[in-house]
């Protein structure tokens, strides 16, 4: 790919009006255009944006999908989520590497291709999934890998690859009020303008809607607090950084229910008095971006976005899409805002919370994709939109993947039991279920009567089902490594703790573990829970320790009754010396 580097950089600089706050967007575009960010690119950016080079380099080193050493012209990432593993991703990655004669993680010498692993790409129910030059391909089976290797060897441009590979469908298995709602374009916006912001917030309150990202903060309160701030400018941010492994409902909503998302953001803007909204879309969902941009454009054409919305003087609101660049922590709202501002995604010190001090220091409502969708329904149709038999006020979208017959999206009322969920999706041989992703809870079959609710099992909706054949320590290890990889490294307990957790869990998995390692992990977990800066560090050791608590056999059978076993490997430690002695003996 012979791209004139400086032309790409200058084009991006112009596109983003040389705004230093957009540096991350520029870097991402440059990376996708030329597979590398060169020192010369950094120099031009640095001079044009008046930003130290080291700060630009710091961004490249922080975000997974930015690189200052060249990736292949075909830059391929296999999703390394446990759900992809279960569908054979590791084998497929090995197959592709072998077919192309390339080592995992290392671009080949002629710069044709690089194959690497990445954190969950959000195609959990249709894995193994890969990203090729930023674009997603699902269901990568043996035949597809063989075909892919051929296309790459023959230098076939991505645009000419089989079209059906790029069609990502949504398995909408069970529809509730949201998935079943056929909203007329502008329906919620019209009604919001008609009834006014007080009424919008009152109806949200009456509906009982709470944030669907996992924290469950009452939506109306967030909007109300933001609205009550004394300032000229406020912002609406839609958190579409769906990085929790096993979660893909936001992907489906953005794919099929974008109208609800944008309408919800607009309604929020009207309610809180914001004129600008941002959709922060994770890098892995690049394949959704173009269509979303087109939909925004159409909404502008019919004056549902822009100035004087639907002809109402002084009601202005527009939406921009901001892309992530590969960082799980950015799903945390304050880290997301940092990232939007073009910085490394480090969670801020809270309080103050974004609702009073958010994007550019101004009051900002950050809500999850799903929350905005439900808000759209509620504002358009009233609080009854989410009423269910008059008793359960709220619904939840579940992302179900793993060992079941019908993985996909299920819209269920809160109050549903885990048992009902397993029956719905056809999970016949349940050993355990990871609810809420790696940071959530591992549920054993003793707990199938627990219910989805804010009081019992509060979750962002991810269900990963493991049948009797799965090794739960392998699962926990995958999650533990995920947290280490994604730790932003800001605070001591998380940065060092996640690394030690992986070392100790690996030691156990390798058969060198002992009682003392488990005790050590428990003490470290306590420290990480108490002292970490954000939820990542607080939850990072939960998978391995919950596995030990609920499925002790998965760990005990590896450690036996040993009280202490060293990790020290004598053979590995003398390998180098042996080599030297052998070399010297020859000469």
């Amino acid at each position: 790919m012979n791209v004139d580097s400086s032309a790409v950089v200058r084009d991006r600089l112009a596109h983003y009006n040389r705004d230093p706050g957009m540096v991350l967007q520029m870097l991402r575009d440059i990376q996708l255009a030329q597979n590398v960010i060169r020192p010369s690119d950094i120099r031009i950016l640095s001079e044009s944006l008046n930003m130290p080079r080291a700060k630009i380099k710091a961004l490249i080193d922080f975000y997974s999908f930015l690189h200052d050493s060249p990736r292949g012209r075909y830059d391929i990432y296999f999703s390394d989520s446990i759900t992809d593993h279960m569908l054979g991703s590791r084998e497929r990655a090995a197959q592709l590497c072998a077919a192309l004669g390339v080592e995992l993680g290392v671009p080949n010498a002629d710069g044709l291709v690089s194959v690497a692993l990445t954190s969950c790409t959000g195609l959990c129910e249709r894995g193994p999934a890969v990203l090729v030059n930023g674009t997603a391909i699902d269901r990568v089976d043996e035949a597809r890998v063989a075909e892919m290797a051929k296309l790459i060897k023959h230098n076939v441009p991505l645009m000419e690859w089989p079209l059906e590979w790029f069609v990502i469908n949504d398995a909408l298995r069970r529809k509730g009020p949201l998935l079943d709602s056929h909203m007329r374009k502008g329906e919620a916006v019209e009604r919001a303008i008609e009834v006014g912001s007080h009424q919008v917030i009152a109806e949200l309150k009456a509906s009982g809607l709470r944030g669907c990202g996992g924290a469950g903060f009452p939506t109306w309160r967030k909007w109300d607090i933001c609205r009550s701030t004394h300032t000229e400018q406020r912002y609406v941010v839609c958190n579409a950084d769906e990085g929790e492994p096993g979660t893909f409902k936001d992907r489906a909503l953005l794919n099929t229910y974008a109208r609800h998302v944008f309408e919800g953001m607009t309604v929020c803007g009207l309610a809180i008095g914001a004129s600008q909204g941002y959709l922060y879309l994770r890098h892995e969902y690049e394949f959704l971006r173009e269509r979303l941009e087109r939909r925004l454009e159409r909404r502008r054409e019919v004056n549902l976005l822009g100035r004087n919305i639907l002809g109402h003087h002084g009601i202005n609101f527009d939406i921009e899409i901001v892309m992530g660049a590969g960082s799980y922590v950015c799903g945390e709202e304050s880290a997301l805002i940092e990232s939007m501002e073009g910085k490394r995604g480090i969670p801020r010190i809270r309080p103050p919370f974004p609702v009073t001090h958010g994007y550019k220091g101004l009051p900002t409502v950050v809500n999850n994709v799903e929350t905005f969708c439900y808000a759209t329904g509620i504002v358009a149709r009233g609080p009854e939109f989410v009423a269910h038999d008059g008793s359960e006020p709220c619904w939840k979208l579940l992302s179900i993947s793993g060992d079941c017959r019908s993985p996909g999206i299920y819209e269920v009322p809160l109050g549903t039991t885990i048992r009902e969920v397993t029956e719905m999706c056809g999970a016949d041989d349940v050993q355990a279920i990871q609810v809420g992703g790696p940071g959530g809870l591992l549920i054993s079959t003793d707990e199938l009567d627990r219910v989805l609710s804010f009081d019992d099992l509060n979750t962002a909706g991810s269900f990963i089902i493991f049948d009797g054949s799965r090794d739960l320590l392998e699962v926990a290890l995958n999650f533990t490594k995920f947290f280490k990889h994604e730790s932003c490294g800001f605070c001591t307990p998380c940065r060092v703790g996640t690394k030690l957790m992986v070392a100790m869990a690996d030691k156990i998995a390798d058969g060198h573990g002992a009682r003392v390692d488990v005790e050590q992990m428990q003490r470290l977990h306590h420290l990480m829970t108490q002292a970490s800066h954000c939820g990542l560090g607080q939850r990072a050791a939960v998978p391995i320790l919950t596995t030990y608590e609920k499925f002790p056999e998965s760990i005990n059978r590896r450690i036996g009754d040993a009280e202490y076993k060293p990790a020290f490997d004598v053979e590995a430690a003398i390998e180098r010396s042996r080599q030297i002695v052998a070399e010297e003996s020859k000469s």
């Binding site: 710091a58 960082s327 280490k484 940065r495 690394k499 050590q520 060293p566 010396s577 042996r578 002695v581």
Partner: protein, 422 residues
């Protein structure tokens, strides 16, 4: 809003806008910390200042004081968490006090003292980060960086130069320099800059100024005593001896300098008292080369650097009821561990081929010689260790204390002023 808060039961005032640690600092109440500095905005990353505030554990450097706030800081639970955080930082970087220019003036070491850290219980990472020696007057040793970001803040807020920034994430986090070549020499940093003077550890140091003050007169040599004794792990089965029966002790030095043994001999005439109660098995004191059978106590000095060390160490572990890791090298590899991160071939070539005054240069290949290990390891990574006696060397009184405690059947504790890292 101003008012009063209570820290560990003591009421102190605070001024409008002050955080808990600022109020404590002004009132002369010490809350352990590393990344906090009164001159700069809080960073909140080291987490050492975590306190129990109104029932929740939060960083006291980022929590604003409010009237009537109840803060617990000096509790066993919090200090034990802080000790663990200190241990995490010690194993994450290369913090070998005896060979560090900042020893005695190092806030990390100071906290290890204050919190009574005796052992590094976690596996050592052996950081291998790039050192920057390009500046004529200032050296950046990234292996000792604890990411407190004080230099970042000082350079940005005081010097107005914005020379440092944090790059990367997780284990690939690093301290980066804003200059055209990414190095200190082109950064514009000068020795008088606040950023060159604020580093609480030995990461940013001035050249030609190491070990300037003699031991005893350095900043943290006069230690703030927060407790009288450092608690050591509990002995589950105390030694029981028949009247007249002596406790048997074996000692050895692996990759060490025998300095710990010399310090042991500094118990001077008390060795006669000891000899009445103790008989020595293998030890350089009597030149016995192998342990003759089970002994009660083993003292091991030095780290593990070759296969012979492993054999000796395992022999000790198999035969000693209580195994004590003695001195900095046994505890973290110490001075010999400075070679960690260098290729074994480079080491051998330096020693046997390129070094000065070598005749008949060749790398020895005799298979009778022990193999050199890839890196020098602390002994507790190879065998189980019961007690740690830190120091370079540990003071004679520390040997006396731990041995007499065990011989008398007492739970050993280390008098606080005998805790030593260099």
């Amino acid at each position: 809003m101003s008012g009063r808060i209570r820290i560990d039961g003591v009421s102190i005032p605070f001024a409008d806008g002050q955080t808990v640690i600022q109020a404590a600092y002004d009132a002369g109440v010490h809350i352990p910390h590393l990344c906090y500095h009164p001159d700069y905005a809080a960073n909140g990353s080291c987490k050492l200042c975590t306190c129990q505030i109104d029932g929740r554990q939060v960083s006291s450097c980022t929590t604003k004081a409010t009237d009537g706030m109840v803060v617990e800081s000096n509790t066993e639970e919090l200090n034990s968490e802080r000790r663990a955080l200190t241990q995490l930082l010690f194993v994450e970087g290369n913090h070998h006090c005896p060979s560090c220019e900042a020893s005695g003036n190092c806030e990390l070491q100071n906290q290890a003292y204050r919190l009574g850290m005796t052992a590094l219980i976690f596996p050592d990472f052996t950081a291998g980060r790039a050192t920057d020696a390009t500046h004529p007057d200032i050296l950046l040793n990234r292996d000792r960086c604890i990411y407190c970001e004080l230099c970042v803040r000082a350079s940005r807020d005081t010097d107005g130069k914005d020379i440092f920034c944090i790059s990367g994430r997780s284990e690939n986090k690093s301290l980066a320099i804003n200059s055209d070549n990414g190095m200190l020499d082109e950064s514009g940093l000068t020795v008088d800059d606040a950023a060159a003077n604020v580093c609480p550890v030995g990461a940013i140091i001035k050249k030609r100024q190491g070990f300037r003050k003699p031991i005893g007169q350095r900043d943290y040599d006069a230690r703030q005593v927060t407790h009288n004794k450092v608690r050591l792990p509990e002995i589950k089965t105390p030694l029981v001896k028949a009247p007249g029966e002596k406790v048997t002790v074996a000692t050895c030095s692996l990759a060490g300098c025998f300095g710990c043994h010399m310090s042991f001999l500094d118990i001077d005439e008390r060795i006669i008292q000891l000899a009445e109660r103790v008989s020595f098995d293998r030890s350089p004191i009597n030149d016995i080369k192998h342990i003759s059978g089970p002994v009660d106590i083993g003292l091991v000095e030095g780290g593990v650097c070759n296969t012979e060390n492993i054999e000796t160490l395992r022999e000790f572990r198999d035969n000693c009821g209580i195994l004590i890791s003695v001195g900095a090298c046994a505890m973290d590899g110490g001075v010999p561990a400075l070679r960690n991160g260098l290729d074994v071939r480079d080491l051998l070539e330096e020693s046997y081929i390129n070094g000065r005054g070598i005749e008949n240069p060749q790398i020895p290949v005799d298979r009778e010689l022990p193999y050199i290990l890839e890196k020098v390891s602390p002994i507790h990574e190879v065998v189980k260790v019961d007690f740690f006696l830190p120091g370079c060397p540990p003071p004679a009184d520390a040997f006396w204390q731990i041995l007499t405690d065990i011989v008398d059947g007492r739970q050993p504790d280390l008098p606080y002023d005998l805790l030593q890292f260099d």
